[in-house]
Symmetry: D2
Subunit: 355 residues, 4 copies
């Protein structure tokens, strides 16, 4: 008898949705992509060509898709605004859920997803923080676990996109939740991974500029921002997010402990080639995050399938997804108000006046 495969459906076939669908279709041996949903005509047309011939049933109605006979899981790659609703509906249909980050830019909504998941502990519900599946970050985590750093104390992490002059990111800012929630949330998730899930912010500051996209002002957002989070227990994380890189994607992380340090991607590179010419020696850089993290996404699909089929633990807690957005929102608030935020050891806000 053939081994059971995870019958999964893909919701949303935008840029990342297409990738998830293809990864489950082609690069996840223990999964079988059986359905896909998109409300968008162009995406549907793409799906008819790239998914339907391979046995994937297509839907323009999410609810119908998740009612498909035999379906076991759904991967959600739609717009952020519907992530939570779709995730909850899927759970109600007894489906495992892999949801693109963030669950929501609204913390209360995030919490509703987590609450629903708690009710159904037999379901695997994961928010896709892709760096958790990247071999380099996993090596960092292992080195920390092995004690090579002593006590991790300082984390520097940046998410920096290649400059896109098309204006896309201005429109996107209308609903992205702001740069810290949209971009730095990955760096914050790394912080929870490397410093510990239970760390509590103590103080938060942030500063931002609009260097190349002045129109972001209408959304109170920025194209370059720096934020600092000090945690109770003597740890600091500081973040830089930018959409202005000239050369490509540059997502770099350093963790400094009392006895050692690690860095990830301090020398970004497209491949292993150097080109030597009269101007010097040049290497190329990935143009976007998928150029950097493609294999992490493939790993994510495979580990999700395994966890669902074998009922083994997922490598990250769903509740972290709330905590990462919470910290991102604190940074965003500090950025917009120009005030340092303080919190006590239980995570409650302390008024400036009381300091």
């Amino acid at each position: 008898m053939a081994p059971l495969k995870l019958k999964i459906a893909a919701a949303g076939l935008g840029r990342m949705g297409k990738r998830h669908a293809l990864n489950f279709l082609n690069r996840t041996p223990r999964a079988e992509l059986v359905a896909a949903f998109t409300p968008d005509a162009a995406e549907m047309s793409w799906a008819k060509q790239h998914l339907e011939p391979y046995g994937v049933t297509l839907y323009d109605d999410y609810d119908k898709m998740i009612s498909q006979e035999g379906l076991m899981a759904v991967v959600i790659g739609t717009a952020t605004s519907v992530h939570a609703e779709e995730a909850i509906k899927a759970m109600e249909k007894n489906l495992h859920v892999l949801c693109e980050k963030p669950l929501s830019t609204d913390i209360a909504v995030c919490k509703s997803v987590v609450a629903e998941a708690k009710k159904r502990p037999h379901l695997k519900v994961m928010c896709g923080f892709s760096r958790r599946f990247d071999s380099s970050y996993r090596d960092v985590h292992k080195k920390i676990e092995d004690g090579l750093l002593g006590r991790p104390s300082i984390l520097r992490s940046q998410t920096c996109d290649k400059h896109d002059p098309s204006g896309f990111f201005v429109a996107y800012a209308a609903w992205s939740g702001g740069v810290f929630v949209d971009m730095s949330v990955h760096d914050i998730d790394l912080t929870l991974w490397f410093f510990g899930d239970d760390i509590i912010p103590k103080s938060v500051s942030a500063h931002g500029i609009r260097a190349v996209q002045p129109a972001l002002k209408q959304y109170n957002d920025y194209d370059n921002a720096v934020g600092v989070v000090e945690f109770h227990g003597g740890k600091i994380a500081y973040y830089y997010c930018s959409r202005m890189m000239p050369h490509g994607q540059e997502d770099t992380t350093e963790v400094i402990g009392t006895e050692g340090k690690v860095s990830v991607n301090i020398n970004p590179q497209q491949n292993l080639v150097n080109y030597y010419h009269p101007g010097g020696i040049t290497r190329e850089v990935p143009g976007d995050y998928y150029g950097r993290f493609e294999m992490a996404f493939v790993q994510e699909s495979n580990e999700f399938a395994t966890a669902c089929l074998d009922d083994t633990p997922l490598p990250l807690k769903l509740s972290n997804a709330i905590k990462a957005v919470e910290i991102g929102s604190l940074l965003q608030e500090a950025l917009v108000t120009g005030k340092q935020i303080h919190l006590d050891e239980t995570g409650r806000r302390i008024e400036q006046a009381r300091l």
Copy 2:
């Protein structure tokens, strides 16, 4: 109707055979692994666990396997000594063939495979030089095609394995064809790719030592060897092969042209992590060639499937496989005799006395 998939069988389930089988099973969307053959009990036991449950029929008889109904192709990963015979038999059954390198360590045998393939031009027959499918080497080829190097004139390339103290390579030397045929054949294939398939060797020298495996003397082989091939038309390739690396796999290539230079893998690395400690800054290195070239092998499976299904050209000529072994054999001869070999512009040997 579901799109046609390439029904393929895997011959040989040793170290590399297993990988080919799994790559066609799991990572080649347009292929379907339907059969596998091994004469080895331990390998058969592995196959019962990892292949059979997924619909792969197992055989301990190669001839029976290639007679399976509906089979379209075979990937050959058995011992080198049977590559040629199995490839020819497969062609006689009208099957496409992807054969691990080398076709044979005997040039006449290589030629018989090529001759058979010429008779059946509708079949895709490829010798698996994996570096042809590596994204970095492809970038080099593109840069050469784009003229960034001017006229490529000097090629340095090395295939260097991590030292294996188990003695495996001494036994292996009994039938490997010698280090230049076994290891440098990859570097020679790169030379044909970057200098042009039609280059003719003009002179050949080689030197070798036995630094860590003195027992190689019984097979007239070496654990470290350096060879130089000058080509007619003013080009030189020089090679280093070694099985003595302390740190891991280090396969490095440089191509120097009249106007530019490229290097591949000048800084070997396992991942994107650096570890900072009181002794300095350290990065790890892949332990073997699969750690360096895994994705190239996956790419190879996929491109082979596509070429077979769509009847599109393969990215490398089968005749190169002969030429690479021929040049490897010249180097091996120069190594063993201690004499420089000279050839005229048609590739015929010139006696030393006539110089």
Copy 3:
């Protein structure tokens, strides 16, 4: 007739004072070290051996030294607390002055030195920000001037020392002015150089921890601190200073503009050697700032001598030395109070309540 040489005296023969003395003695062809002063017996003993035999007159009294016949300049490398007084006395004796940074940790005192220098425009008075003389930083400045970065917008810079478990830095913190004034002042000076001398801080935040030196608490100081300065006109600089590096000195800077980016020392290295071993590939790192900046100090001595002798401009303004300490003090205040500081476009403080 022999060309005129700058007759210079060295005040202070501690760690850096010794180096200045030897650089002027041996590595500054247009200068002649003619005198040295130290109140310390051990330093005097060193000077008798290393300076006196080469024609350097030794003093245990600063005032006497600066009265030496024919003296033209003094290099001040004494304790920070006497820098300003000694610099002013030297000017009163009509001597050129090269003073180690900072002029003082007290801004009013800094200003008194600058005021004195303004009265004597024929004198060259320089505060030794050594990075201004480093070839890599100069290359960055040239690339900015050449427009390769577009508009410089984000600067990240860190001054990170190897961990010294001796407790030296705890004692030192008693009078250092705090980490931002003592360490980050170099990074702030780079900011003035790369963003422009006339930039005005708009907002300032800082956070710090005591990860390895808890005793710093008595001096309200920290062993790791992160600070952010936003400037009017849409620029941000962020700084990290630490005395906890496991591997050695790591002073790294990045400048990101609207069209290009540069980094300095992203891969710290002691020399050009890599060591390959079973654990990977390792390179060593300089143990301290002099290992990184030795040649910058030599360049500084030489350019100071040239400016004095030829009456040519110094490469940095004395007033920058005040501004760098002012910004460092803002960071230190933000660090200690836990409040973000705001300033208007003239540089005046804005109260939080008014925001």
Copy 4:
């Protein structure tokens, strides 16, 4: 009383001669440049401006210069053809000698210099192999001495100059001794240092092309050449020399032992800057050997002065200078004849026929 300084004269004020003169004048505290000789009017004019004002007596006659009262040493940077004669004359005047490499391109002449030096053991006579004074190569030597490599077995070393389209090197080839004697002699000297002075060549091969300077044919020379030397005792060194680099100077060395490996300058760089732009990340490369080795030459001057004044051993044997030229000449012969050369364990030639 002022400490004794080494009164030294500089012979030859060409490109490297000027640098030696200035290094002894300005950057060698224990030396005093007291005289300089050049037969060339333009060089004399330069000397009147840059040396004479600092107390250096100028000569257009070598013999007169070395007769100057009180002279203790001479640094010889004239044309190679007169190195030996001038060195011998200097020794006859009881002067220490630092002679630019090579002593001569004629081995018999080299031997005459060594013979003369043997007669006068109280004199320090050194042939300036500058890499012996480079901190990176010294680190390699120390790591070998410390046993980090096990038994050094393979050495790869290249001397590669930036392409100079002026034709200078064609003219230069008339008397350079050929590329292996002129360029690879440095790599051969490193081989003696790292493998041991007493190693005996066992077999030698070489190949060359004229890729950008076809006119070198008239001098039987090449612009790119690869040579291999196997030594008795199981060691191989292989060399690449080129005058065709597009990007700058690239002098790289690797030493591979049975237990470890080291590389020097595997990533050539002008300084610590990386420039990030839409085409990738670029670093610049030194344009010539002095950009790479300037500090080694300064170190050489200083150690030579110390050895002369304190009668301490020089860091390299004069006899190595012969051996390096001998091995270079073997490579050059192998290059020109197209024959592999064999030698017995005493270093005597074995005829091919006898193999």
